[in-house]
């Protein structure tokens, strides 16, 4: 079963009751119908919460409890959400990592940014592990995280990457804040925010400053056959075009073309963030990360946002938050200059 239900529920129900079909097919149809309804209900709930939480964010944040963390086991199928796992002690390493690191991401957002879960209203953080058969991917499907086991050649288990877990959860945060679409500039920003906060989360867990961090994305999920070819990461925020990346990216805003996959157009904003953090020094989440978070969460939805507009908002917020510390604004200016979006270049594009 896929995450979008192309077979209507009444047809699935009919199939599940059709005596001409073998019992296993009937059971699969019944299971699919039941899960489809649950996922549909969750989607409706998530959409409702997205709009309500955006309208009355502050009071909701104040009253909401800390988020529940739930993990389900897909048992190597693509049936969602899968079998519930009782807790991190259940004896499955992937489950333990999903519980522990999701809990840590919740703590990171709470302690560092004062955010209560994905929607800032205590939304349950739900993950399904062992999704698919040797599935080489992890994703946020609009309501929950999914993690594949990897094929043990190009990739290993996707829950092994704490930055991967931070990346996927941040897609949820973006959905409940800027609500960026997933194409063109907005798609590149959407991907970049997930890499920035995924990397910051990894640095925060390790207590690293910007100079000590490796700025790699997905270095812990690279499998043996990729390592044999000197591939060490999916992406490198400090060197997006590096040959050690599984998917080298552009480094200049001028290289971004319409329709480009968001995992490529995120290269320039990733490099801008890295350059700003490295130039300023110290811990990425303490100042530059705070500016990025404010831009992400205080302007309301901006689904078609362009990268130069995002850059301008970081300048504006840096002035508001750190007006007395010009180093912060200067570092951010260096960041955008590194990708061809200095103040004057940005103005020329607009």
């Amino acid at each position: 079963m896929c995450t979008c239900f192309i077979v209507p529920r009444d047809i699935l129900t009919k199939l599940s009751q059709d005596p001409r079909l073998p019992p296993d097919i009937r059971k699969a149809a019944a299971d699919t119908a039941r899960v489809a309804q649950e996922i549909r209900d969750l989607r409706i709930q998530a959409l409702r919460l997205t709009s309500i939480a955006t309208m009355i964010q502050a009071p909701v944040t104040a009253i909401a409890a800390a988020p529940a963390i739930t993990v389900f086991d897909c048992g190597h199928t693509q049936s969602l959400p899968g079998r519930p796992i009782s807790g991190p002690q259940a004896g499955d390493d992937s489950a333990k990592r999903a519980f522990d690191e999701t809990t840590q991401v919740a703590k990171f957002y709470k302690d560092v940014f004062g955010r209560n879960s994905i929607d800032n209203a205590g939304m349950t953080m739900m993950s399904s592990i062992h999704y698919g058969n040797r599935f080489n991917n992890a994703m946020w499907n609009g309501t929950q995280m999914l993690y594949g086991d990897g094929d043990n050649a190009i990739f290993v288990d996707f829950t092994l990457g704490n930055d991967v877990i931070g990346h996927e959860l941040t897609h949820g945060v973006t959905q409940h804040s800027l609500q960026l679409e997933y194409t063109d500039d907005a798609g590149g920003l959407n991907e970049s925010l997930s890499d920035c906060f995924g990397s910051m989360f990894r640095q925060w867990e390790k207590g690293q400053d910007a100079a000590a961090a490796d700025w790699l994305i997905g270095s812990d999920i690279i499998g043996p056959s990729a390592r044999d070819r000197n591939i060490t990461c999916l992406r490198d925020m400090a060197d997006p075009a590096g040959a050690h990346c599984l998917a080298p990216q552009p480094t200049q805003y001028s290289q971004i073309t319409p329709g480009m996959d968001p995992h490529y157009s995120s290269g320039p904003p990733n490099l801008a963030f890295y350059t700003a953090c490295k130039t300023l020094g110290g811990k990425s989440w303490e100042k530059i990360g705070q500016v990025w978070y404010r831009v992400m969460t205080t302007f309301g939805p901006s689904p078609r946002m362009k990268i130069p507009e995002f850059a301008n908002r970081t300048r504006q917020v840096a002035g508001q938050m750190f007006g007395g510390t010009p180093d912060v604004g200067d570092a951010i200016e260096q960041g955008w200059s590194a990708v061809g979006l200095s103040r004057s270049e940005g103005a020329a594009i607009a």
């Binding site: 896929c2 979008c4 998917a247």
Partner: protein, 94 residues
């Protein structure tokens, strides 16, 4: 026999993009597919299948076929691609 070329794109790792070291391709014969899958493929090419908005890090599939009019290609999200097509591709490093 009509052949479909399938390529898996996107995902967290940015499969199949410019400069990507990971490619994922496969091929299936139309006649090897079930009647339901053949119909699903025809509907995709005829634009009859509702296409949901893209989800972060989800795979997309480029499906190509040869017709009397020439080569025809579509790019669609994983959600609407029959498993027989999805499972035909193999991830390889270049």
């Amino acid at each position: 026999m009509e052949r479909l070329q399938i390529e898996r794109l996107g995902g967290l790792a940015g499969f199949g993009g410019p400069g990507s070291r990971i490619k994922s391709k496969g091929e299936v014969g139309m006649s090897d597919l079930s009647a339901a899958d053949q119909r699903a493929v025809a509907d995709l090419f005829d634009n009859k299948t509702p296409i949901p908005p893209p989800k972060p890090d989800a795979f997309r599939y480029r499906i190509t076929r040869q017709t009397a009019q020439g080569t025809q290609a579509i790019e669609v999200p994983e959600d609407v691609v029959p498993p027989a097509l999805r499972n035909s591709v193999k991830d390889t490093l270049e």
